[in-house]
Every structure is written in structure tokens, then in C-alpha cells.
């Protein structure tokens, strides 16, 4: 028993390759509709994949990494470092005498390297003019949809230590 169509005595090959023009229009539309429905199934699989990733998510363990000494940077100074792995470039900025912030250097749009624009006091992505707030990494302008992941820092014995990433979806 067919799930969709009424049982037919017509062989499938004859049904799919009709000699009549009107019937052929039907075949084309049905095939296209089938393609659209399969695409819809693909979208569902994508959503289910995100659901599965969310359900089986485990909180990552971040290493502690000494980024540099507090006196190393002048106000407005910048240092590039890698955290939590060697493939994750980050940018450290001294925004005031006692204020340091660090973010992932990968733009959340297409992963270009962001840099600190001192005059505007913001992080900028040169590829597509995405601007991020230096205060919290949120998007100020441009195509990025998400804030820059932030590196949580702590001061220990005059050293700045990266302790975890925040807002990176990991």
C-alpha cells in the first residue's frame, strides 16, 4: 500500500516519463514539490542538530594563562595573545589606569581580525566595517550579529591572568 498515492496499475517509469504535455506539467510540479519538501526536511535536521548539541553540551574547562604584567601596557595600549588555544587570537586593551579588557580577536561576522581604534575607543573589523564596543564587546554597527566573546581576566601578583571565555557559545 502506498503512503501517498492511490494504488495504480501504471508502471512507475511510465508515470514519471509521460508522453502527454499536460501530464508532464504535473510530473514537473510534483518533482519540484518533492524537492522543496526534502529541503524542508534538511532544515528540520539542522534544527535538530542544534538541539542535540545544546542537550549534550558540557561546560568547557579553560586553562589559566598569564597574559602579561599590569605595567606592561600604557593606557590605550594593546597586546595580542592566544587563548584558550594557540589558534584563538585575542586582544588585550588597557582602557584606563586600572581597567583592562580582553576579547577574541575574531570578528563574529566572518572571523577577520579586529583591532583597537584608539580615537573612537572601539574595536573595529576592517573587512566589512563591523564596530564593537570596548566596554562589553557588543555590536555597535555593521554586519556582525553577535558580540565578541570576552576573555575574563583577573589580577594576580601584578600579572593579568586569563581565566575563561564568556559568550563564545562553547
Amino acid at each position: 500500500m502506498s503512503w501517498f498515492r492511490k494504488p495504480s496499475s501504471t508502471p512507475l517509469w511510465r508515470d514519471e516519463f509521460s508522453v502527454h504535455t499536460v501530464d508532464e506539467r504535473y510530473v514537473n510540479r510534483r518533482q519540484f514539490t518533492k524537492f522543496l519538501t526534502l529541503t524542508s526536511f534538511g532544515m528540520l535536521v539542522g534544527n535538530l542538530w542544534i538541539l542535540a548539541r545544546s542537550a549534550f553540551h558540557r561546560a568547557p574547562v579553560y586553562p589559566k594563562l598569564a597574559v602579561g604584567s599590569v605595567d606592561e601596557l600604557a593606557v590605550g595600549g594593546v597586546k595580542i595573545f592566544a587563548y584558550p588555544t594557540a589558534d584563538d587570537p585575542c586582544i588585550l586593551v588597557r582602557t584606563a589606569a586600572e581597567s583592562f579588557v580582553a576579547y577574541s580577536q575574531k570578528c563574529t561576522h566572518l572571523s577577520c581580525a579586529v583591532y583597537y581604534e584608539k580615537e573612537q575607543n572601539r574595536l573595529e573589523c576592517p573587512c566589512h566595517q563591523g564596530f564593537f564596543s570596548i566596554t562589553d564587546g557588543s555590536v555597535l554597527q555593521g554586519p556582525p550579529q553577535r558580540a565578541l566573546p570576552r576573555v575574563a581576566l583577573e589580577k594576580k601578583n601584578g600579572q593579568l591572568v586569563a581565566i575563561r571565555m564568556e559568550g563564545d557559545g562553547a
Partner: protein, 78 residues
């Protein structure tokens, strides 16, 4: 009435169903991209409603495809 009249009527119904499927698909694509953006931003709470709504949209597409299939079958068998 000629044989072509019900045939054309069937084609119009199929065209309507196709347009509906396309609209549902556009919504589903948007939903997937929005859910993915939320997930990547660390908001995992959007995953469950995203998957449920996507499932409903897929079920609607499947229902419309079934309708198209039945119309096709009915018309071509005379």
C-alpha cells in the same frame, strides 16, 4: 466540458500548494539561521522552540506535498 478543464484546475491547486510550501520554506530557513545565531551566541534556550516550530513547518510541507501527490494522482488517472 473538455478533459483539459479539470486538468487545469488541478494544476492551479498544485501551484497554490507550491507557493505555500515556498513561503513555509523561507520561514524555516530564517528560523534555522536565527536559531544558529542564538546558539553560537551562547543562548541555548532557543534550540527547543526552534526545533519544535521547524518540525511543525516540515509537517505542513509534508501535508502539502501529500495533497499535491493526491491531486496529481487523481487527475492523471482520469
Amino acid at each position: 466540458m473538455s478533459r483539459n478543464a479539470p486538468q487545469k484546475k488541478g494544476l492551479t491547486a498544485i501551484d497554490g500548494a507550491m507557493v505555500l510550501i515556498v513561503i513555509l520554506l523561507i520561514v524555516q530557513i530564517w528560523l534555522l539561521s536565527a536559531t544558529l545565531e542564538s546558539y553560537l551566541a551562547g543562548h541555548r534556550e532557543a534550540a527547543v522552540p526552534g526545533a519544535i516550530i521547524s518540525g511543525i513547518l516540515f509537517a505542513a510541507c509534508l501535508g502539502l506535498y501529500r495533497l499535491v501527490d493526491r491531486i496529481d494522482s487523481d487527475n492523471r488517472q482520469g
